[in-house]
């Protein structure tokens, strides 16, 4: 079987009456590599018929790219323009301005989304090892990350991210139909944190925590570095709510810099 196209593969255009078995004749009129064509889309614009760049890393804020589009992880993303972000209803948030990347089909709008009072985030079907998304389970449901991989929790990937009030990360426990299976995943980073404007303690439930209380055989902590937690704190918007971030069950929790979050109004347990 032939190799798939690469950026060095050439596209050639023939006259309509050319013999397709005679590709080396002078009937070949022009040629360009896939890389040449992809490069055409990198200069801005983003809309219309240009082909978005394929990127390996999750897009991050870049004001100079406002309006550009890229393909990441099988999905089209756009570095939002001011108007675009305003239409989505997220333009007023700290850290969200022209150049803030969102999935192109991102449709969150605070006027249309019902607040989620309590949800557990889940990462499912992880393949390959690096996955950038989660599903929102039904309210109050508890589903776990089914992976042994290193993952990035991306609160942006699904359009309800900004209205989440409570986040519980289940420490690698999956309650199967007849038995418990444990998936000791590690969290490398958090993304889309800027949109977590509604984190709040509700009753005795804290805004953000790791749940390691599962019975028998589960991990005692979730692997997540102090640097990743600090980055999470840094990206969080300031709050006037009573919101507790309990990072004590992250491996890097005790070494994290709580003052980054307490200065924004959060209570931190580490």
């Amino acid at each position: 079987m032939a190799n798939p196209l690469s950026t060095n593969s050439k596209i050639v255009v023939f006259d309509s009456d050319v013999n397709l078995n005679d590709a080396n004749t002078n009937n070949v009129k022009q040629g360009a590599t896939i890389g040449d064509i992809l490069a055409l889309s990198g200069g801005g614009g983003g809309g219309g018929g240009s082909v978005p760049l394929l990127v390996a890393d999750r897009p991050v804020f870049d004001a100079s790219k406002a309006g550009d589009k890229v393909y990441f992880n099988g999905e089209e993303w756009i570095y939002g323009t001011s108007d675009w972000l305003e239409q989505l209803g997220i333009s007023g948030l700290a850290g969200v301005s022209a150049g803030y990347p969102v999935p192109y089909n991102f449709t969150w709008n605070p006027n249309r989304v019902t607040t989620i009072k309590k949800s557990l985030l889940t990462v499912e079907n992880l393949n390959p090892a690096s996955y950038y998304g989660f599903n929102l389970s039904a309210s109050d449901a508890m589903i776990a990350a089914e992976t042994t991989a290193n993952i990035t929790w991306d609160f942006l990937h699904y359009p309800l991210g900004a209205k989440i009030q409570q986040i519980t990360i289940q420490a690698g426990k999956y309650v199967g139909p007849s038995t418990n299976v444990f998936f000791p995943f590690a969290i490398d980073a958090f993304e889309g944190v800027e949109l977590l404007t509604d984190l709040e303690d509700i009753g005795t439930g804290v805004a953000f925590r790791v749940n390691i209380t599962g019975s028998g055989g589960g991990p005692s902590a979730v692997t997540c570095s102090a640097a990743a937690i600090d980055d999470f704190f840094t990206k969080l918007p300031s709050t006037t709510k009573t919101a507790t971030l309990n990072v004590s069950d992250f491996t890097g929790g005790s070494a994290a810099n709580a003052s980054i979050a307490t200065a924004k109004g959060y209570t931190v347990v580490q």
Partner: protein, 213 residues
């Protein structure tokens, strides 16, 4: 040993009944039906927690230690206090929360730094009624002082509950404290099987009324 709880509002009445049924000793429960009850705040949560902070002042006589338990506690042990021990010099004992706490306001941070832990007020031992009343006198005062500061725009609200006020009160009293093992108040469990298999002596259900029938 004198066991005491406070249950203001219907939900806590039901939970206090569960507590009374699960503990094979007399548990006295203060409710709105008491002659000493007076509404202190229009907010049901603030009102209920203030009465908790003042609980010892509703006890007229008690010989020996006083133990306060939140209404939503219960036990599955036949003789829960069989192995309960504190030092002779201990005036008050409780289960601390684990972890280091960082707070958005200086007053609570000062209280945490003073104690080195956050107090859980769900299960508390007092050497005698006099000490319990002395703590409650200060605790209820500090609770009302904290309530004056509640301002959602400043990140302080009723959801800081009663425990920070207790920590502030104990800073000023110099009470001799002993920390108890977590088995005396396990507030983490919410799964029926996990509770049944737990070695913990007291469980706190935190709003899961149906946690055990």
């Amino acid at each position: 040993m004198n066991l005491f709880s406070v249950a203001i509002n219907e939900k806590y009445h039901k939970e206090a009944l569960r507590l009374q049924r699960s503990v094979p000793l007399d548990v006295k429960v203060f409710t709105e039906d008491s002659d000493k009850y007076k509404k202190i705040n229009d907010d049901p949560l603030i009102n209920a927690l203030w009465h908790k902070s003042n609980f010892a002042n509703y006890i007229e006589k008690a010989k020996g230690p006083v133990i306060f338990m939140d209404a939503d506690m219960f036990t599955l042990k036949e003789d829960p206090f069989k192995n309960f021990k504190v030092k002779r010099t201990t005036e008050m004992a409780y289960v601390p929360y684990k972890g280091k706490w960082g707070l958005p306001d200086q007053e609570r941070q000062k209280a945490f730094d003073f104690h080195g832990h956050k107090i859980n007020s769900g299960f508390m031992y007092f050497k005698n009624l006099k000490i319990a009343q002395k703590v409650c006198d200060q605790w209820q005062y500090e609770y009302l002082e904290r309530e004056k500061l509640y301002d959602v725009q400043k990140g302080t609200s009723k959801h800081e509950f009663d425990e920070w006020a207790l920590m502030i009160a104990l800073m000023k009293l110099g009470t001799k404290i002993e920390l108890l093992d977590g088995k005396w108040n396990n507030w983490h469990l919410s799964d029926r099987e996990e509770i049944k298999n737990s070695e913990s002596i007291f469980i706190q259900s935190h709003h899961h009324l149906d946690i055990l029938d």
